[in-house]
Subunit: 354 residues, 2 copies
DNA sequence: TTGTATGCGTTATCAT
DNA sequence: ATGATAACGCATACAA
């Protein structure tokens, strides 16, 4: 039953067609130096015999494997799905195979990627998300082109060591918080980057601090909420829920929340409702990402929208120009937009809070 | 720059170590017939030289590729993510590589799968979701074990042609609709399986009809809503929203909705709110799947919960017992449970609707 | 315990 | 235009 032994090889086809293997190879790969008549004959025969090329054999010889590894960490965030989808389409369109490797959020994504890429002799890699705690050295091991998607600056690593396509997380976060400040809020909490995350989470928090600082609002670290439970994905509705639950208990003076991800915001919204507060009248909240579900919760989520299609397209552009043309590393920033939903409102100046 | 030419092979290691290639091969694969001292020496050397086995070479020889293809159609449904995640973990734990192939919902998933599996000489395949319009014949082409996950009965195909792990979609749908009937509803609409879908969608609609029939409620096909726009994924919030929007305009007599997927239900909830109706007082709605976000919308979604972990585990069980022990095909049904949220309520007997 | 020779399916080189 | 042969990296049967 465990067939596959029955699969015809070019040798079999050659035998049946009464030609040499190399002729078959040429016919199947649209190479020159072969008469149209024999080509057609062979192609038809191969099709009829149910021939499939053996990638292992082919790429053992060619040592060029048209495959891209897509390393994705923290898949739970639906936003990644929204960029993964077009990414996959584009890669396939270029006749490359995309191998998606999900790594648990506590694992070392670069380590995993190196292994896969090396063993499979892949042509390149894309890191979607991820929290890079790495030193520059780990990227040295990487001997194929790679791009960081939705991740921009890496604090410990020199720009020249990698490429990236992302929104300016810090800048956009500042704008988001500025939006809350413009509405009159001054006691603004932030949810929640775990310590040690050296990536988008940290940058968005930096943006938060920046906005407060710009506005002359004193920083209060107690308002920056996160949790560091091991083996727990920080980008989940649950996490946002728990963070907000505690926040509301401990800090009834808060009137607005900046969540570094929509999933956290949506989880927080439930906690806010459970606390008997109304959104946005008693509590404003703004998210980050622009995931689809944000438009279907009540009220519709106000958030910083990252353009998934554009990110996907640019990621592929940068990657393939490195693969095909040996182009140098590049850092692309794409603009985000604030989508005004119904979760933010001007601060009501009165003492009736709580 | 495009290195990978620099990767050491066992030949290089053998040269440096002053031994034969076969000794290296044995050392690296923990084979017997090799002294511990040389093994350790070689392993250390390989590590130091940054050796990585070349899968192409290895599996060209072995013609057994420890890789599983995961074909997933209609990825937009978040429920698939919830089973994909543990699935991936289990497969990796068994030291198999999982290649996820997403196919657009209008493509032929079996065709795609056959190609990949053949070319990569994969050991097996898992179909996650999908709408199988196929005749039995297409499965004959498949010469490796495969399992349909979250899909049970295929109308046109004999049971002996495939394995499956899923809830009993028809039965559970009947229970869901029965739940609405028990609350006193009689004018119950259903959202939305496109015509031609021969899979879970159709079965859940069949379950809906069954429930009405059991209760002696006359069937009204106008209450079964779906759309057949080409190239449009039916399992989205948007789709549910549009279906409900029209339904509410055309049929103000409806008091309850059965959605064949949670995404549709959640999309519909927005349409219901926009129509000025309250959930569940003016309109009850029940979903199917048990996606996480259902617990974070307001009110919390009442739904039929499929157990993703159990489905993932059983899918792997069935697949690997076929791969390793040549076990026969098997059909596993897992029980679902109705999660009582806040979107269903007893019918209020009065004329104030609308 | 270790090494030599062979072949997996394919493509490139060099012939004819 | 076509074919014989070598080579890709690895693992196995067999010999030493």
């Amino acid at each position: 039953m465990r067939a596959s032994n029955s699969r015809p090889t070019i040798k079999d086809i050659a035998k049946v067609a009464g030609v040499g293997v190399v002729t078959v190879s040429r016919a199947l790969n649209n190479k020159p130096d072969i008469s149209d008549s024999t080509r057609e004959r062979i192609v038809a025969l191969a099709d009829q015999m149910g021939y499939r090329p053996n990638r292992h054999a082919r790429f053992l010889k060619l040592s060029h494997n048209p495959a891209i590894a897509l390393i994705i960490k923290g898949i739970d965030n639906p936003f990644f799905q929204q960029v993964l989808d077009p990414l996959e389409a584009i890669v396939r369109e270029k006749n490359y195979l995309l191998t998606v490797v999900k790594v648990p959020h506590w694992a070392d994504e670069v380590e995993e990627a190196t292994k896969i890429v090396d063993e499979e002799l892949m042509a390149g890699a894309i890191f979607l998300g991820g929290s890079f705690r790495h030193e520059a050295s780990v990227f040295k091991k990487f001997n194929v082109p790679f791009v960081l998607s939705t991740v921009s600056r890496l604090p410990k690593v020199d720009d020249s060591a990698y490429s990236s396509v992302a929104v300016d997380d810090q800048e956009e976060a500042t704008r988001a918080v500025q939006h809350l400040i413009d509405l009159g809020h001054t006691t603004i909490a932030a949810l929640g980057v775990p310590e040690g995350d050296a990536s988008v989470g940290a940058q968005r928090i930096t943006g938060y601090r920046q906005a407060l600082s710009n506005a002359g609002i004193p920083l209060d670290d107690d308002l920056i909420r996160f949790e560091t439970r091991e083996q727990m994905n920080p980008y989940t509705y649950e996490h946002g829920y728990h963070l907000a639950k505690r926040l509301l208990q401990e800090r009834p003076d808060v009137t607005a929340i900046f969540a570094i991800a929509d999933v956290l915001a949506i989880g927080a919204m439930r906690a806010i409702r459970e606390a008997g507060l109304s959104i946005p009248d008693d509590m404003s909240i703004i998210g980050f990402d622009g995931i689809t579900i944000g438009q279907f919760v009540e009220p519709e989520l106000t958030t910083v929208v990252q353009p998934p299609l554009e990110i996907a397209r640019l990621t592929c552009d940068v990657l393939f120009e490195q693969i095909n043309d040996s182009a140098p590393v590049r850092h692309v920033f794409v603009p985000a937009t604030i989508h005004a939903g119904g979760t933010t409102a001007p601060l009501v100046q009165s003492g009736e809070a709580k």
